[in-house]
Amino acid sequence: MPRHASAAPAAAIPAGLGRDQLLEMYRFLRLTRTLEERLVALYRQSKVIGGLFRSLGQEGESVASAYALERGKNRDMLSPLIRNLGSMLVMGAPPVEILRQYMAKAKSPTHGREMNVHFNDLEAGYLGQISHLGDMVAVMTGITLTFKLRREPRVGLVYVGDGATSTGTFHEGLNFAAVQRCPLVVIGEYNHYAYSTPPAKQYAVKDLAEKAKGYGIPAVTVDGNDVLAVYEATKLAVGRARAGKGVHFIEVKTYRRKGHAEHDDQSYQPKEEIERWATTNDPVDRYIKQLLDNAWVEEQDLADIDGDVRDEVDQATDACVNEPLPEGDTALGNVYAEPAAAERLWYRSV
């Protein structure tokens, strides 16, 4: 936690945020980036088993949108995509569990059964995706429908990529949620690519926000790399959803600076384009500048956080990097509530 929290000129800070919160968001931004850089190192050492998916350049919208939710035991709930590492960290996913997931460790939340951010903690408020895009929209419709049926003041938030808006499940799920006026906020991530596919080959509208019109729900488009703008827009939508005003759609314009996954050479992304976003529109750089220009925080505050985060990621790595993979036969349990285990095939014991 940052020092001399009391000394901040809170008045000047927008969106009803305090200095501590500004620094906490910074901390999550830094943690996301540092943790991903660590994952890259582990990937190069072949310690990451499967693919590695970066959110470089998109950390702002992930962190800020999640930060607008109420956190804590059985409060709000979000469903992240592979590029929403930041959102999961905000909801309390421990970095060590992320590392374990990527490295398929026995102690990982899924005990090595699933990969990367594909895990959940319903009490903490995050439900990991499955690979099939769009499905989580329908599932979050059911979760927020439950909030509504139980009259709980809880809100759900689901992320969907520009590409994933083309799926039938996105359509069916969002439409059903809209009809039921579920307390659901949808973050449409316009990051310029779906794997290699640009928006122009994905749909015939300019902004994702236009898609919301077909569902009778309010929508806004915000600068996804402006942390406070995303926070403010999400906060507003979450408040409305909580107040019973139904589904809200927020389009965040951002840019995927790395390839679809580490193996992707990005040949289809113009070098200059990547360069331009990196140098002139990095969400973390912009946030830092904003914090310092407005004298909301001091350089030292950020430096301290950077150091804390480095330590945290080091410790998380040390804690799990040498852990064992799961024992093979642990693959058999928990297919059903019971019987406890699927049967081991006969020839394994002859």
Partner: protein, 325 residues
């Protein structure tokens, strides 16, 4: 107790479970004020309210996905497919999201997906399907297919109480065709247990759903005309399958005929044949044979449908051949 139909038995089971457990709710197309295409949920919305009997858009994937989300949160959703043929639109959601949730992520997803199945009703290719083979291959799902009014009630109640996702397949040809007097009090049929519908010693027929009745007819006829003693095993649960009950019967009669209404190739009968081979090969006095639908989409014309689907006479002929073997 008066006799009640198979359809009424489903209604009773659902009704009792909703009275018993407020976490239970229904969702599906036209199930509310209208009471569903076959009126299975007629009167439910009046009694339990719009919050627990939800009319949905025509969105099978969203119906199942939303049910899964609600189940994660502790509710007990029962989703209706207006005709089971439309469950194909939720195939991804069921096989990839729902079925794997516990295994891959420790999520419990106690949902029931139910709907009218089966042929012999002139429904044509898209209102007559039997979907069990499409989902039988999916670890994590359970599949039940009652043949009697008692099991229709007993299995819907067990399905609602089950901790895992259950496909509850109801045969529309049986809805109003069969009647039965049910015992007073709680009727529960355990999931995973087959039922001996008729005792016999010469030959075993393994079947489920509507063909249980055709098999019983055939057994009766074979007893009269051929003096054959045929045992009829009603699986009731298709997944997980009651291997023990199957093997016990096969080891007693040494001959087995598997009968299902579904098409042949890739149907459930293949798996049963493989399991008998693996677990009771030494007891077989003849090949395991199958009576099934022909490998075509189910056509509309009565003459065509009757030809394609297995009939009592087919079972009689096949059993006779096998008995002589």
């Amino acid at each position: 107790m008066p006799e009640i139909t198979y359809l009424e038995a489903i209604r009773q089971g659902l009704w009792e479970e909703m009275e018993r457990d407020e976490r239970v709710f229904l969702l599906g197309e036209d199930i509310g004020a209208y009471g569903g295409a076959f009126k299975v949920t007629e009167g439910f919305q009046k009694r339990f309210g719009e919050a627990r009997v939800i009319d949905t858009p025509i969105s099978e994937a969203a119906i199942v996905g939303a049910a899964a989300g609600a189940a994660h949160m502790g509710l007990r959703p029962v989703a209706e497919m207006q005709f089971i043929d439309f469950i194909s639109c939720a195939y991804d959601m069921l096989t990839n999201y729902v079925a794997t949730a516990r295994y891959r992520a420790g999520l419990s997803t106690p949902i029931v997906v139910r709907g009218p199945c089966g042929g012999y009703v002139r429904g044509g290719p898209f209102h007559s399907q039997n979907p069990e083979a499409a989902f039988f291959h999916t670890p994590g799902l359970k599949i039940v297919y009652p043949a009697t009014a008692r099991d229709a009630k007993g299995l819907i109640k067990s399905a609602v109480r089950d901790e895992d996702p259950v496909l509850y397949l109801e045969h529309k040809w049986l809805y109003r065709r069969i009647k039965e007097e049910l015992p007073a009090g709680e009727v529960l049929t355990p999931i995973g247990q087959a039922r001996t519908a008729r005792e016999g010693k010469d030959l075993t027929i393994v079947t489920y759903g509507a063909t249980v009745w055709k098999s019983l007819e055939a057994a009766e006829q074979l007893a009269k005309d051929d003096g054959l003693s045929v045992e009829v095993l009603d699986l009731r649960t298709i997944l997980p399958m009651d291997d023990a009950a199957i093997m016990t019967s096969v080891k007693k009669t040494n001959k087995v005929l598997i009968v299902h209404e579904d098409t042949r190739t890739g149907g459930v009968a293949g798996e049963i044949a493989a399991r008998i081979n693996e677990q009771a090969f030494e007891w077989l006095d003849g090949p395991i044979m199958r009576v099934t639908a022909h490998d075509v989409p189910l056509p509309y014309a009565p003459t065509l449908e009757d030809f394609v689907l297995p009939q009592t006479d087919d079972i009689v002929k096949a059993a006779r051949w096998l008995a002589k073997y």
